[in-house]
Amino acid sequence: MAADTTTRPAPPEQIKAVPVRHPGRWIAAVVIGVLVLMFVHMLVTNPVFQWKFMVDNMFSAPVLRGARTTLVMTVLAMLLGVLLGIIVAIMRLSPNPIVSGAAWAYVWFFRAIPRIVLLFFCANLGALYGTYDLGFPFDQQIMGWLGLSGDLRFLGLNGNQIFKGFTAGLLGLVLSEGAYMAEIVRAGIQSVDPGQTEAASALGMSRAKTMRRIVLPQAMRVIIPPTGNETISMLKTSSLASVIGVVELTDASEAAIHLYFKAIPFYVVASLWYLFFTTVLSIGQYYIERHYARGSTRNLPPTPFQKLMRMNLSFRRRSYTYTPAGTQEERP
């Protein structure tokens, strides 16, 4: 074979063998098929679902308002929670023991308190002080020592007015989420090879710049999947805010149930909205993960759309194969 360099050897004949039979797979498929049929049968025949009534109410004004509140609350709580988490995580990794100790205490405290207790607490902060002022710490005491009266304050907020409903709910969720996100971000930062920080320092980059430009973008690969999890979890946790009077999706559905005395259709409405939001968030997560995968794999995985396009082409032109790099190559 090696002696003959002018003509290629003929390709070997492909193996045609009898495939192994898998009766277990067939049995499993039949069992699952029957269960699915039974489920669909229940959905169609059981009158309690009241599909027409359900669809009519899915887009009714109170339900839509509730769904919007749920979405806004989730997005805001996650944005602020991630920001807080990054700050606490960086503090936790500080060489200063006071700073890292404070970050540790924060995580310890807010992970220990159940979210529902935290929400009740935030809704009652108005009871702690009537007004919340922004000003100089211990101003009254200091003015007293100086023999003066009065204070050094420039912004007063009524405690009972700000700590209620949406703001209180958001505050509780952000404080709690910040603690969980801090641990996720810390894990991400620590997953980055210390050689990266060394290389950046050797090039004369400052600590802050190294963190922002070199470490965090690489940590993102580790941070994104659990953050997606947290976001989806937050979508559902936000329903806890209904206990302090926030009219979000669950609360709006409950209210409708009390109005119409029809429970199942409204629980289906709420479930469908949660399903829809989760689907949208999962798609978003996929693309964010893909963005931060740059350089970590030799080639980015194709998007579902690209996969679809390629499938189409391979149906039409059988003789072409696609290399992972996405370039066409004719089969020999």
Binding site: D193, G195, Q196, E198, A199, A200, S201, A202, L203, G204, M205, S206, R207, K209, R213, I214, P217, Q218, Y292, R294, G295, S296, T297, R298
Partner: protein, 268 residues
């Protein structure tokens, strides 16, 4: 016992000005004494190779030169300026991180494991520090980065991520990245130890060209042929001290100290 003095009659290319002065440096990690009184001088344009068994302190010494490791005693200066400390009224003051970073700009470093930024392309790796640290405008940095890539023979790999490059290519990008800061001194920490044998040659060729252009270099290496042919001086380290230090060809081909002889006999 230790032969610290550099003998006369060296083939040193440029002026006799010292680029790096290391005086009686001690360093320990916990209870492990890694450097136990190391002194050496590297002149401008000199290629100094550090050889010796693993654990002898060569890499630690190199990392002390750009203050990636703090020394416990002694002093190190680069281009006449103390590394990591200010000296005022005969007292040492620790340098602020910002000033350490400023000092490191003129000291390039190449690592055994390359340490390229995996989320940036070869070109972006090279442009990162000039743009972010020196404030060079992007167009100029891009031009310089392309020229450096051409210099290390990788013009066609500009858009590749490190994971799409072989070890030898990655190390050449890493050298280009260090050169982009226009350093006056280059530190190489076993630059070919993580490479397949067939890729070592390309990296050594780039380093040889750099040496011929007059760059001051300190190279920790196990490549004895490189040390002999490209190095001006060779220091053999063992147990945290410099055992033998002298003209590269002489130390490698005709070592005087028994420990150097034993080491070189094993490496060959």
């Amino acid at each position: 016992m230790t032969e610290d003095k550099v003998p006369d009659g060296f083939s040193i290319r440029s002026a006799d000005r010292p680029a790096v002065e290391i005086e009686e440096v001690y360093k320990s990690f916990g209870r492990v004494d890694v450097l136990q009184g190391v002194s050496m001088t590297v002149r401008e344009g000199e290629v100094a190779c550090l050889i010796g068994p693993s654990g002898s302190g060569k890499s630690t010494l190199l990392r002390c030169v750009n203050h990636l490791e703090k020394i416990d005693a002694g002093r190190i200066s680069v281009n006449g300026r103390l590394v990591g400390y200010h000296e005022r009224n005969y007292r040492l003051h620790e340098m602020h991180d910002r000033d350490v970073a400023r000092q490191r700009r003129s000291i390039g470093m190449v690592f055994q494991r390359f340490n390229l930024f995996p989320h940036k392309t070869a070109l972006e790796n090279i442009m990162e520090a000039p743009v972010q640290v020196l404030g060079t405008n992007r167009a100029q940095a891009l031009g310089e980065a392309k020229a450096l890539l051409a210099q290390v023979g990788l013009s066609d790999k500009a858009g590749n991520y490190p994971s799409q490059l072989s070890g030898g290519q990655q190390q050449r990008v890493a050298i280009a990245r260090a050169l982009a800061m226009k350093p006056s001194l280059m530190l190489f920490d076993e630059p070919t130890s993580a490479l397949d044998p067939e890729l070592v040659g390309d990296v050594l060729a780039v380093m040889r060209t750099l040496a011929e252009s007059g760059m001051t270099m300190i190279v920790v290496t196990h490549e004895m042929a490189f040390a002999r042919d490209v190095g001006d001086t060779v220091a053999f380290m063992d147990g945290g001290v410099i055992v033998e230090h002298g003209d590269a060809r002489q130390v490698i081909t005709d070592p005087q100290h028994a420990r150097t002889q034993a080491f070189l006999a094993k490496v060959r």
